[in-house]
């Protein structure tokens, strides 16, 4: 799993991600995220890296309450 910065335009990517979610209900946002995860996973195409990413995402322990 590569955790060094690799996204060429981080702010542009983040803005595009937010724009895609704009106006969506929570359920539709969850659907969009799920589709995005699967599409990105297929770009990665490396089983070891995918499993490492799942572990890393599951380990993350948010310090803020996720419900606003």
């Amino acid at each position: 799993m590569n955790t060094a910065p690799r996204i060429p335009d981080p702010d542009g990517f983040y803005a595009a991600l937010l724009a895609a979610h704009e106006g969506l209900s929570e359920a539709h946002s969850a659907d969009l995220n799920a589709r995005l995860v699967l599409l990105l996973a297929n770009q990665c195409a490396d089983q070891e890296v995918l499993l490492a990413c799942i572990r890393a995402a599951a380990e993350d322990n948010p310090t803020t309450d996720p419900t606003p």
Partner: protein, 504 residues
């Protein structure tokens, strides 16, 4: 309200009771092998042993095969099972039956028809018949009694069973007008409140339509003819005429024994492992259990292999069952998501699959039964994998198949690519005491010779002349040698047959 017609029950074959000779004899008969349970696994093993000329007794609790009435039967037979049936000489009849072959599943009955007693030097069985009881003894007992094995229960063996909350209801129906013979699967059918539906043709012109039901459903209510009929009407529209063959609500469970061998007792089929139905891995893996065990029991009974070969049954089939359990559990979980997050992920998979090929690989409505690879073990240093039933030709042009070659006697087949005459003679000498039939593929060795065949070489993983593949009687490749020598061939065969200094 619409009235729904029912077809008559299946006619099952019946073999009337004839009193066994032991009933009127004081002599206690000892059999090398007793199989309990004449379902798909037990029958396959009994046929396998009979074809090898090995005496076995098959016990069952009734006078037929199949389930009385018109209820569910085994449906989908995978390639490996059909290859086993070809070796047993019954494939043609099975294929002629139609789309698939209906095979009755026999679970153990409710009443006790026998009990058994494990002794240090054998197994003693007390058998109840309509004409009284008698006893027999067995060197080895095969438990093919199915999911609710009383033998397993009596031995106190933990099955690690777990029950699913997923509920389904089968409607088996015949249509007046034929439908296209396609298998249709809905992960979330609009006419079934967004739950799954399976639809495919079986033998005898019967369609299986299997509806996923709510987890908390009333199984008696959902399987009433008028309720099941209304479900079909919703799906098919008002004009399609049909009659019911059977309606059956079901849940499923799984279990897996830690070991498939307990001394003189061997567990095969559902007695050893039960998985969810997705992918047809139940009956198919039971049939493969039988094919794995049959030749080993035969060689042991004939004194041509030692007890260690019988241990390999557990070493090979238990991991295969564990793999089947994992595969079917994943299908079951895809079909019955357990949380809102799982529903969300499945919605994403289904949405993407409509447009993107990669996502179709994630749609898991069941992964069809395959012949599992076997892991490395004492008799399989490199592990083993199935060898398909490729069509072959003798050097003089006559046709044969691997299964036809394996149907003759109980022996491994050594496929040797273009050996020399000197090598062949030396190898025949070195392996004379082993159940091994040496065949050449091409060359002028003097051995029985098959025509050179690129497809066979590629399938076996062979690269060029001098290569050797050791194929077991269950059509698994046990060893692959490049530049084989007579000594290496003899050594590979002894390893695969668990021959050491103590065994013949």
């Amino acid at each position: 309200m619409e009235n729904f017609a029912f077809a008559p029950a299946y006619e099952l074959p019946v073999w009337p009771f004839t009193p066994p000779p032991e009933l009127n004899s004081a002599k206690l008969v000892r059999h090398p092998i007793v199989i309990v349970g004449a379902g798909p696994s037990g029958l396959t093993l009994a046929c396998d042993l009979a074809q090898r000329g090995v005496h076995a007794v098959l016990l069952d609790e009734d006078d037929t095969v199949g389930v009385r009435g018109a209820s569910s039967r085994g449906i989908c037979y995978a390639q490996k099972s059909l290859e086993i049936f070809e070796r047993l000489g019954i494939y043609e009849r099975i294929a002629a039956k139609g789309i698939t072959w209906s095979f009755g599943r026999t679970f153990s009955g409710e009443q006790e028809v026998y009990n058994f007693n494990l002794q240090t030097d054998g197994v003693r069985l007390e058998i109840e018949t309509p004409a009284g009881s008698y006893a027999i003894e067995a060197d080895r007992l095969i438990d093919a009694t199915g999911a609710n094995s009383p033998i397993r229960a009596q031995l106190g063996i933990e099955a690690h069973s777990s029950r699913s909350t997923d509920r389904w209801c089968i409607s088996d129906v015949r249509f007046k007008k034929p439908l296209p013979t396609e298998r249709w699967t809905w992960v979330d059918a609009p006419f079934n409140e967004g739950r799954g539906v399976w639809q495919h043709l079986m033998a005898d012109g019967v369609w299986r339509i299997d509806y996923q039901m709510p987890e908390d459903c009333d199984t008696a209510y959902i399987s009433k003819p008028e309720v099941a009929g209304a479900r079909l009407r919703e799906q098919l529209g008002p004009d399609v005429e049909f009659e019911f063959v059977w309606i059956g609500p079901y849940g499923y469970r799984d279990h897996l024994l830690d070991s498939f061998r307990h001394g003189r007792v061997f567990f095969i089929g559902d007695a050893a492992h039960v998985v969810s139905p997705f992918g047809a891995r139940g009956g198919n893996s039971g049939i493969q259990d039988a094919a794995n065990l049959g030749w080993k029991l035969a060689l042991a009974a004939q004194g041509k292999a030692g007890d260690a070969l019988l241990d390999s049954y557990d070493a090979e089939r238990q991991p295969a069952a564990r793999q089947n359990l994992q595969v079917t559990s994943r299908s079951a979980r895809f079909l019955a998501p357990r949380s809102p997050a799982e529903h969300t992920l499945r919605r994403a998979v289904v949405a993407l699959a409509a447009r993107h090929p990669f996502a179709r690989a994630l749609v898991n409505t069941g992964r069809m039964s395959v012949a599992n690879d076997y892991p490395p073990a004492p008799v399989l240093p490199e592990g083993a994998r199935t060898v398909q039933n490729l069509p072959l030709h003798w050097a003089d042009g006559r046709e044969t198949t691997l299964m036809q070659l394996l149907a003759e006697g109980t022996q491994c087949i050594g496929l040797w690519f273009a050996p020399t005459r000197e090598q062949a003679l030396a190898a025949l000498d070195a392996t004379a005491a082993l159940p091994l039939r040496l065949l050449a593929v091409g060359g002028e060795s003097g051995l029985p010779t098959l025509r050179p065949d690129d497809r066979l070489a590629a399938h076996l993983g062979m690269d060029g002349a001098g290569g050797f593949a050791l194929v077991r009687p269950d059509a698994y490749r046990a060893a692959l040698l490049s530049n084989a020598t007579p000594q290496a061939i003899a050594s590979a065969a002894r390893t695969a047959l668990a021959h050491d200094d103590k065994t013949p």
